[in-house]
């Protein structure tokens, strides 16, 4: 039975109904959390300048977190729900479609190689999410928003540095907490 097979953490795919619907509901939580953190960023000077450090960390956290719990295609489903819903509040939603997909695929790749019990596993997973995801968003900033190249690069480097550290810590803590709760096997 698929559900039993997916208990082996290194499996990439989990296509049972629980995973699919779980990914949808958690994708909606992803959207809500991004809204909350976006509003927090807007209260801060860097947010007013268009650099969403807390929101970016939240984005990186959920991208990895949902993929670790629901594997694929749940990770992509949740990621694309967030990307497509972001049309309501972000002009970069087109870039998010690709950034989110790439981020979740990277996490699946890392999770297929490691059991995600160590900090180093999460550091590696978030490295890909933050670097690849932010690079794609940078391309979006340059081609969609017409942001100057040097500004976009500097913003991206700052975002990668902050998001990577913060998201790694939150992902490890939250993932361990959820596994301990017994709500996810």
């Amino acid at each position: 039975m698929e559900n039993e097979l997916a208990l082996k953490r290194k499996k990439i795919f989990k296509t049972d109904t629980k995973s699919l619907i779980g990914a949808v509901v958690m994708g909606i939580v992803f959207v809500i959390a991004c809204q909350i953190t976006g509003q927090i960023d807007n209260m801060l000077p860097w947010g007013k300048a268009g650099m969403y450090l807390i929101n970016g960390s939240c984005w990186a956290f959920f991208t990895a977190f949902i993929t670790l719990i629901y594997k694929q295609p749940g990770g992509i489903i949740a990621a694309e729900i967030e990307a497509l819903t972001s049309v309501m509040y972000s002009p970069l939603w087109v870039a998010f479609i690709f950034a989110n997909a790439v981020g979740t695929i990277w996490v699946s790749f890392v999770a297929s190689k490691y059991d995600m019990t160590k900090w180093s596993h999460h550091i590696l997973a978030q490295a890909g999410v933050c670097i690849l995801g932010n690079c794609i968003v940078t391309v979006g900033m340059i081609f969609i928003l017409e942001i100057p190249l040097d500004v976009a690069i500097i913003e991206t480097l700052i975002l990668i540095a902050v998001n990577w550290i913060v998201a790694t810590v939150i992902t490890k803590l939250a993932y361990d907490a959820v596994l301990k709760s017994g709500l996810v096997k």
Binding site: M1, N3, E4, L7, K18, D176, A177, K180, S181, G182, L183, K185
Partner: protein
């Protein structure tokens, strides 16, 4: 005649657990039976239903020794998605079970999965809408339904499948008395006229026992008793003809809460509550009762400071409520909400209870002592390192209560704290609230459960059509029976 459900279970064991969650269950249920299932917290009631539907082990991984047969077929051999041919399953929270945006689509969800023709789908949905009288809101959004309407829709969606067995896990736990009575009337009609075998995990025993043929009493994962309803009532239900006297130290000189002509009108002119004059004295245990939509929640939100009165005024602890002092006033109040999951977020029980103490200046030793005292009070000592989400709903509500009382509030406001709990869990929570009241705390309980109000509170206040209509001592309830019946609270 072969039983329609036949359970011969030696053991059901979850991974990482040493003890079997269900053990030594031999139970035969005939077609047309109406069975109530009852038992204490974590006795295995819901798990028994999961074993019949084969959700355990297919949905909740576990190992089963023994067999469960439905309509003479071993459920292990039937894929979960084919169980719809035999069993309709209904859970507590209707909003979690509805998958469609619109009521009409939700009613046809199950039959559409069966690949029936559009005409057949329309015919079945139409039939069920008439039976349940839900034509009026057939095109409403599912998230805009009240609890009772939502539960009817979920029932309707299951009935369209025409399964011969209905399994219901506390279906009326979140409903008010009038709506739960209606729901059980429908179930009884289906059982008596359509011969649908019905198995209900008991939430409102008074309603269920009116219609049930037999009662399964569970204890520690096994069937302790399997009796007819009369035998069950004689053995288990102590008839409290007179409510026990409650002695509380009420100080009539001190007002904890005072509403003076308080009203709240929502945007769009919707009346929340009108001209409420209400005073809560120190040491009182007051229950506010009323149907859904009577204004109880609005009145509560006014007291909590979540809403401002559009007319009238509110005083808490003798002071008018302002933006400046609301934070300070709230620190003297403990709130217990309907859904304990709204306030639980830590990874261990100890952390959850001690969260509020982080902001205090007590020493570590003092904090630990307070935490241990609270754990002992709520009956969770020894479980400090357990994750709160592993507890049953009743235990989580007690944990929420613990996290509230650790800051030693003077007033405890409990908003339908027993909603979603079975009777044994409800009793546990209510007894803790009574104990707090007996220790000198003031308790304001909002509930639509009249028996909780009658047996635990010393004063009852009744809301009807957004107004406070009655206010009497709990031991005088019999004098107001006619009024309460007119308001459909009895």
């Amino acid at each position: 005649m072969k039983p329609i459900i036949s359970i011969d279970l030696e053991a059901l064991v979850f991974p990482e657990e040493k003890e079997a969650a269900l053990k030594n269950i031999k139970l035969d249920i005939n077609q047309g039976d109406f069975i109530a299932v009852t038992g204490g917290t974590a006795s295995g009631k819901s798990l028994l239903l999961h074993a019949i539907t084969s959700a355990a082990p297919k949905f909740y991984p576990c190992t089963i020794e023994g067999t469960v047969r439905v309509a003479d077929r071993n459920v292990e051999e039937i894929p979960l998605c084919e169980m719809a041919d035999y069993v309709g399953y209904m859970m507590q929270e209707p909003q979690n079970q509805m998958i469609s945006r619109v009521v009409y689509d939700e009613l046809g969800f199950g039959v559409a999965n069966m690949n029936l023709s559009s005409e057949e789908i329309q015919s079945r949905v139409g039939e069920i809408m008439s039976f349940l009288s839900i034509q009026d809101f057939a095109h409403r959004y599912t998230d805009a339904l009240s609890g009772g309407q939502a539960q009817k829709v979920v029932l309707g969606s299951i009935l369209t499948l025409k399964a011969p067995i209905l399994l219901l896990d506390q279906p009326a736990a979140e409903l008010d008395p009038k709506t739960s009575s209606e729901l059980y009337k429908y179930l009884s009609w289906l059982n008596k006229n359509e011969k649908i075998t019905t198995m209900v995990v008991m939430d409102k025993s008074r309603e269920v026992l009116k219609y049930a043929d037999r009662v399964v009493v569970m204890e520690n994962g096994t069937v302790k008793d399997y009796l007819n309803t009369e035998e069950y009532k004689n053995k288990y239900q102590q008839k409290e003809k007179n409510r026990r006297p409650i002695e509380l130290m009420v100080d009539h000189e001190i007002d904890i809460v005072k509403l003076m002509g308080a009203s709240h009108i929502y945007k769009g002119g919707i009346v929340g509550c009108k001209a409420i004059d209400f005073t809560l004295k120190k040491g009182d245990f007051t229950a506010v009762i009323g149907q859904n939509g009577s204004g109880k929640s609005t009145m509560l939100k006014l007291i909590e400071g979540l809403l401002k009165p559009t007319e009238g005024s509110i005083e808490l602890f003798g002071s008018s409520v302002t933006k400046k002092n609301i934070g300070e006033l709230r620190r003297r109040i403990g709130f217990l909400f309907q859904n304990p999951d709204d306030q639980i977020f830590c990874s261990t029980i100890k952390e959850e209870i001690g969260y509020v103490l982080k902001r205090k200046d007590d020493s570590e030793a003092e904090k630990n002592k307070k935490i241990q005292d609270v754990l002992a009070f709520i009956g969770l000592e020894g479980s400090e390192e357990v994750h709160p989400q592993r507890l049953s709903r009743g235990q989580r509500q007690l944990l929420a209560l613990g996290s509230v009382i650790i800051s030693e509030p003077e007033l405890i406001i409990a908003d339908e704290p027993t909603s979603g709990l079975d009777e044994s869990q409800s009793r546990l929570v209510m007894e803790k609230l009574l104990l707090l009241a007996q220790q000198g705390k003031t308790v304001l309980l909002v509930t639509h459960d009249l028996s909780d109000a009658k047996y635990f509170a010393n004063r009852i206040v009744v809301m009807n059509r957004h107004e406070l209509v009655l206010d009497f001592n709990a031991d005088q309830m019999d004098c107001f029976t006619d009024d309460l019946i007119k308001m459909e609270l009895m």
